[in-house]
């Protein structure tokens, strides 16, 4: 059980999501970096698909009335325990009864994941415990956590082992790798040059539905397109020419031309882009993208 003493900017219950409902207009959603949540789950002895918290930019203060076992992965946030000690990242944390864990601002990146032994015991909706915030269902009452909330955990199974995780290494500043989109041909040379040649910045109005970019407008033939199915990572260009990278909770269909799609291996990087951060794009061939896997987390015994 956790008690929310103070809520963060947007603390959402997440698991791997609910793929398979796209034909009903429901996006798969789920943790923005499912491998990072899975690694946190493994460090507390959970099934990789257990529900944890996805914490964005500024975190909550949580109290563990009966104590607990937890783990944090993803972007580093300022984080202190009741004792005043800093909470470690990427390792099993054992919390005493009544202890609090207080997360502040993200120091680098945008999102972290908190796994709790047993996993958060919110009801499954359409097969998943993930919050789908735009539609207001799943997770804890379909919304972000608020001060005063109390969330029970499922009972933990098996013994607790103290583990440490090593995230995959990656170049933070490398351009996002994309494959060209189905409507790339609608863009003229100037539009393509703007998109691939100039840096963009993540606009403040970005969320799990989409990352809005600021920078050079990408010009294109202003055609009315029939709606098509779209996926997280698809880069849509609305009439104003400012690209939107669709996020995890974005719509499943869209009517704007899609110039490119972020490859699956780079989606975890998308999860860490902060408002104001620079973004560049580079194309890679489809076959090369298929061969490229997201880096693997390695987990070892602590001590």
């Amino acid at each position: 059980m956790i008690e929310v003493l103070r809520a963060g900017l947007c603390d959402l219950v997440m698991d791997p999501g609910r793929p398979g409902w796209g034909a009903l207009g429901v996006p798969a959603g789920g943790a923005a970096d499912p491998a990072a949540l899975a690694a946190a789950n493994r460090m507390v002895g959970n099934d990789a698909a257990a529900a944890g918290l996805e914490i964005t930019l500024s975190g909550p203060t949580l109290r563990f009335p009966a104590g607990g076992v937890a783990a944090l992965t993803g972007a580093r946030f300022a984080a202190v325990r009741s004792s005043g000690a800093a909470a470690a990242w990427n390792e099993t944390l054992v919390l005493a009864a009544g202890e609090t864990l207080s997360l502040g601002q993200a120091q680098d990146g945008c999102r972290c994941w908190l796994a709790l032994r047993g996993g958060l015991a919110v009801p499954r909706v359409m097969g998943s415990r993930s919050t789908l915030l735009p539609a207001g269902f799943g997770g804890h009452l379909g919304r972000a956590l608020q001060a005063g909330d109390a969330l029970p955990c499922e009972p933990g199974v098996g013994e607790v082992r103290l583990l440490r995780a090593h995230p995959p290494s990656g170049e933070r500043d490398a351009p996002l790798r994309v494959v060209t989109g189905p409507q790339a041909g609608l863009f003229d040379d100037a539009g393509l040059a703007a998109f691939f040649g100039s840096p963009y910045r993540v606009a403040p109005a970005s969320d799990r539905r989409g990352l809005r970019l600021r920078g050079a407008a990408v010009t294109h033939a202003q055609l009315e397109l029939p709606s098509q199915g779209v996926l997280p990572g698809a880069v849509q260009v609305p009439p104003d020419g400012l690209p939107i990278i669709l996020g995890w909770d974005g719509p499943v269909t869209g009517g704007y031309p899609v110039i490119a799609g972020v490859i699956a291996a780079d989606m975890p990087r998308l999860a860490q882009l902060r408002p104001g951060e620079a973004v560049r794009f580079v194309t890679i061939e489809l076959e090369a993208a298929r061969a490229r896997r997201a880096g693997l987390w390695e987990i070892e015994e602590l001590g």
Binding site: P19, G22, G25, P134, Q228, I263, A264
Partner: protein, 197 residues
């Protein structure tokens, strides 16, 4: 659409293709999302298109959609506070409001696909005279159950929220409820008739 999304142009055979692919249960496909005149095939992570799937996509589609095509009657309160755009749309179409309602309720619509919000149906079959380009500036809040027109499509907003379509009425029908066994009231291939009340 990234390396996991395969857009297949399907034209008029979208629903037949959709039903055909769903019934075959290809192991490499995570899901199939129907849209206007295309399908998006979402491949499972690390999977490629199999020879079987290639062959199925190359074969001619089934003659008729293999879908139930249930007919739903949707009771609508037209105009007034429930349908603030009805007077302007009727004027645009060169008819009075009651004639507009009659035309809107006289035809049978087909659910082409769902999108935008969970359970939001894009309806084919809107009479040409009732087509209207989307609003220049979207409303910040449209009520749940709003019956709408966007371009050549009819639609119904399952939940409240921002929206750029013209609102001509409202229904009390619950279009989407994630707790139901069948969360979406209307499914691709279903038919819809609006009944003025």
């Amino acid at each position: 659409m990234g390396e996991r999304g395969l857009r297949v142009a399907t034209g008029d055979a979208t629903l037949a293709r959709y039903a055909g692919l769903i019934s075959r249960n290809f192991p490499e496909i995570e899901e199939v999302i129907p849209a206007d005149d295309s399908l998006l095939l979402v491949l499972r992570r690390g999977e490629a298109v199999s020879a079987d799937l290639c062959a199925a996509l190359a074969a001619p589609p089934a003659a008729a959609p293999l879908m139930s095509g249930i007919l739903h009657e949707i009771a609508v309160e037209y105009g007034g506070a429930a349908g603030p755009d009805l007077p302007a749309l009727a004027e645009r179409a060169g008819m009075d409001a009651s004639a507009f309602i009659q035309r809107h309720a006289a035809v049978e619509y087909t659910v082409a696909f769902l999108g935008f919000q969970p359970g939001f149906p894009y309806l084919h079959g809107l009479p040409d005279a009732l087509h209207a380009p989307r609003r220049a500036s979207p409303r910040v809040r449209v009520a749940a159950g709003s019956v709408a027109i966007g371009g050549a499509y009819g639609g119904i907003y399952p939940a409240g929220g921002p929206g750029g379509w013209h609102i001509i009425g409202r229904t009390a029908a619950v279009l989407f409820d994630p707790a139901r066994d069948a969360p979406a009231l209307l499914m691709p291939g279903d038919r819809v008739r609006f009944v003025p009340r």
